[in-house]
Symmetry: C2
DNA sequence: CCCGGATCGTTTGCATGCAAATTATTCTGC
DNA sequence: GCAGAATAATTTGCATGCAAACGATCCGGG
């Protein structure tokens, strides 16, 4: 009788891992695309980060908001939005006031400096989108937008 | 003569910022899609993070690699890959050895435990991709893959 | 052979991000 | 009107990520 190495030596489908190519995984590709976009953003708007800019943009769009709601509208959890709000306040771009109607709430609003920076940066932000999508045709851009919205 | 509030009160094109809707920006949508994927991943494979799994996958695919090259192949800079390697080594999933040919280099390789975990997790990883792309048709999946590759 | 540039790894500092626990406050059903 | 559930904000701990500066080593040209 010929020797078998171990009980696990039965080779079911051969090389489970060889078929898993990292570069084809959607999560990995998403990460690289996000990295490229972040680099373009930082180059164009060095004053604030992407999440900080998203916070300013949402406040400009909606007016003053409670900190937690602001976090939900910018896709940040309570811990993350707190840090972002703290840093923006330290830069004088936003301010926080107590909500007289709900003593748990902290109302966040743009300062004049924050609004001015945002208004100044909007053209740059549009250029960032353009640079990010530069490799795509108009049809591809529309397809991407539609598909990503289904995944968000 | 009627009073003007300030010199800035000339209203050039009206509401620069009103046209900037955060939810339509490609960077913001990308971030939300990435968040959703991360949540699916963490739910399916709690033992390691996405970047840690990417590291194991690349080592399984390519064999032992120097730490910096491993970082480049997994889209992490030198500082980031160092932290990931440290944590994986602490878990006993990889090991590092000095390169005899180049004393600057650190060779990173999978341990048996690391390879076993990766092989076990591959079906889960494929399920993660499936769950992430679940809202899409086959045509949309192919379109997304093609478009993202142009952007990466 | 040797010097200047390139590469490898490390460290520090800052900024997300998420999970989980905690406190304070508000709301809701009975 | 009041106990329990829900919500708001904070804090801690861990894990990416990037930028910049650094020392050690290697490599190529003169």
């Amino acid at each position: 009788m010929l020797a078998r190495k171990t009980v696990t030596d039965y080779a079911p489908a051969m090389a489970t891992g060889k078929n898993y190519i990292l570069d084809d995984q959607i999560g990995f590709v998403l990460r690289r695309v996000t990295q490229r976009h972040l680099a373009i953003f930082t180059d164009a708007i060095p004053e604030v980060t992407t999440t900080q800019f998203a916070t300013l943009a949402k406040l400009a769009e909606m007016g003053p908001l409670s900190q937690n709601l602001l976090g939900r509208l910018t896709a940040m959890d309570a811990a993350t939005i707190k840090g972002v709000v703290d840093r923006l306040r330290k830069q004088g771009l936003i301010e926080t006031t107590a909500d007289p109607d709900d003593r748990r709430r902290l109302t966040v609003s743009l300062t004049d400096a924050g609004r001015a920076l945002f208004e100044r940066a909007v053209p740059a932000a549009q250029a960032i989108t353009e640079r990010t999508l530069a490799p795509l045709s108009d049809e591809e851009r529309q397809a991407l937008q539609a598909i990503l919205l289904k995944l968000a």
